[in-house]
Amino acid sequence: MSVVVARGLTKRFGEFEAVRGVDVEVRERECFGFLGPNGAGKTTTMRMISCTSPPTDGELSVLGLPSSRGRDIRRRMGVVPQENNLDEEVSVVENLLIYARYFDIPRRVAAPAAEELLRFVALQDKRDWRIDRLSGGMKRRLLIARALINEPELLILDEPTTGLDPQARHLVWEKLRSLKREGVTLVLTTHYMDEAAQLCDRLVIMHEGRILIEGPPRELVARETSPQVIEVFEPDEDAARGLRDLADLAERVERLADRWLFYTADGDALLAKVRGVVPDPGSVWLRGATLEDVFLQLTGRGLLE
């Protein structure tokens, strides 16, 4: 069964078209990612899927129901927002209990569920703290716990680790993986490629309101880009002239603000030639292609133009 099915999903704000005919299908128990630069339409698409923003055009069904039945869908879904919107005036555990009421969950069910969720996100020691004493990572974990209070079948996360330190990010990732193992379907947005590669079974890359490509992260890397990349960091003018002559030997060359990227199937052969024109060996290195290369190839050029 598909948890989310969108056909020609479109969102216009006045004359601005934020989402332009998106087709997407999220399967049960998978982790599905929306990637894209700021303004790509990820958050708008997520808001439509979470039934807080009605589509302007197209078809959308969530958990087997048409998106017009927002109340019934939202009852079975959890949403972790990008911005903290916890109730600041009350304690950690009271935040969960107040939220449980919105779902008509009786207190005798909500109270033990809240304690269990606090253990799940490792906040049981902070249960009586006020929200302003929590760190950014703790707040994010509490938002995740809050989104789970109604035992959702579908969990929607908008940039779940933006602004968190590395330890906090890994903790969030671990929690999301264990939720997935328990059978929760996850849909998330991110602009961290490593996060997408770590968590997502399948993903789409969005740009200017459209989906550019779709598939499992590894498959996308294999399909959309060459397997190896040679990076040259800030070549001087002589080196740049030499690199330009080598461009034909690569399958593709990408120029970013501070570096050149040579995409190739035979990294070692090209590396020797690049080393020949760049005097500083420390500014040249060979690596395997990643999702980031796919992303830059599809959306990055706009940054230089």
Partner: protein, 274 residues
């Protein structure tokens, strides 16, 4: 579809008059949230809203009243102004809630966004706020009536109907205030609401002197002031015992509330459901 090649179809705006997608039980959930948080903070909150009309009662009723040679329409001055100050306490209690507090919850705390990710709709949230604003009016208005009764200003058994009257007054000012809150772009705009709406009403609604003493045009203006009818209602129920007057004033309040009721809910949808 061929027409859309030249004109871009705009996303439809929520119409102002429309049956809101609202369920009482869901609205009640937001009321419970507010009540839970109020229990934490009422010690700080209760002071300004409640003491202001109370100080007026002391200063004007006892202080100024001692210097008045004549009674006002045959009443002691403190008796005359107490019912209007009760209506004012209700108005303040509700108005602070649905203006500043609601704006902060909506704009800075993102409380409404959090609620809208649950089975609640924005209209449920709006109705919950109206009910909570009404509750605040009941707390401030009724406590004021009880304390004022201790000063001996209650002269009719109709006083038992004051909770109903205060609830009606509270709901009316909740609807008016929340409508304003749903429209304004910045919190600073509340200055207009308070200095051009609330304060003039407080001065010219017949709390401190009878409106009948004003020029004709001002009397007409007073008839359009929600607080004027609230004052009449409270005065009938605590001082004069004028049943006909009470019914008339209550009818005005219910009528204006019914007329405006859907606006705050639909305006909140227009603002927050994009």
């Amino acid at each position: 579809m061929s027409a859309s090649t030249t004109t871009v179809t705009r996303a439809p705006r929520t119409p102002l008059v429309r049956i809101p997608d609202v369920r009482l039980r869901s609205a009640w959930r937001l009321w419970q949230r507010n009540a839970a948080i109020y229990r934490k903070t009422y010690r700080v909150n209760i002071l300004p809203n409640f003491f202001e009309p109370f100080f007026y009662l002391l200063a004007m009723g006892i202080g100024l009243g001692a210097f008045l040679e004549r009674e006002v329409l045959g009443f002691e001055y403190i008796d005359y102004i107490a019912p209007g100050l009760a209506a004012t306490a209700a108005m303040y209690g509700t108005s602070f809630e649905v203006t500043f507090n609601c704006f902060v919850k909506m704009q800075f705390g993102k409380v409404y966004d959090a609620a809208m990710a649950t089975p609640l709709t924005i209209e449920d949230v709006g109705l919950g706020e109206l009910l909570w604003g009404t509750t605040r009016a009941l707390i401030y208005g009724q406590v004021f009536v009880l304390i004022a009764a201790g000063f001996g200003v209650v002269h009719t058994p109709l006083v038992i109907f004051t909770p109903i009257a205060i609830a009606l007054i509270g709901m009316m000012f909740s609807v008016i205030g929340l409508t304003f809150t749903a429209i304004i772009p910045l919190i600073d705009y509340f200055t207009y609401y308070w200095t051009l709406f609330i304060t003039p009403m407080f001065l010219f609604s017949g709390i401190f002197f009878p409106v009948s003493g004003l020029p004709g045009w001002a009397q007409v203006l007073a008839w359009f002031m929600p607080l004027h009818h609230s004052v009449n209602l409270m005065r009938a129920l605590t001082l004069t015992g004028d049943v006909g007057g009470a019914i008339l004033a209550a009818a005005w309040i219910v009528g204006i509330t019914a007329l405006l009721f859907v606006f705050p809910l639909n305006l909140l949808r227009r603002r927050l459901v994009k």
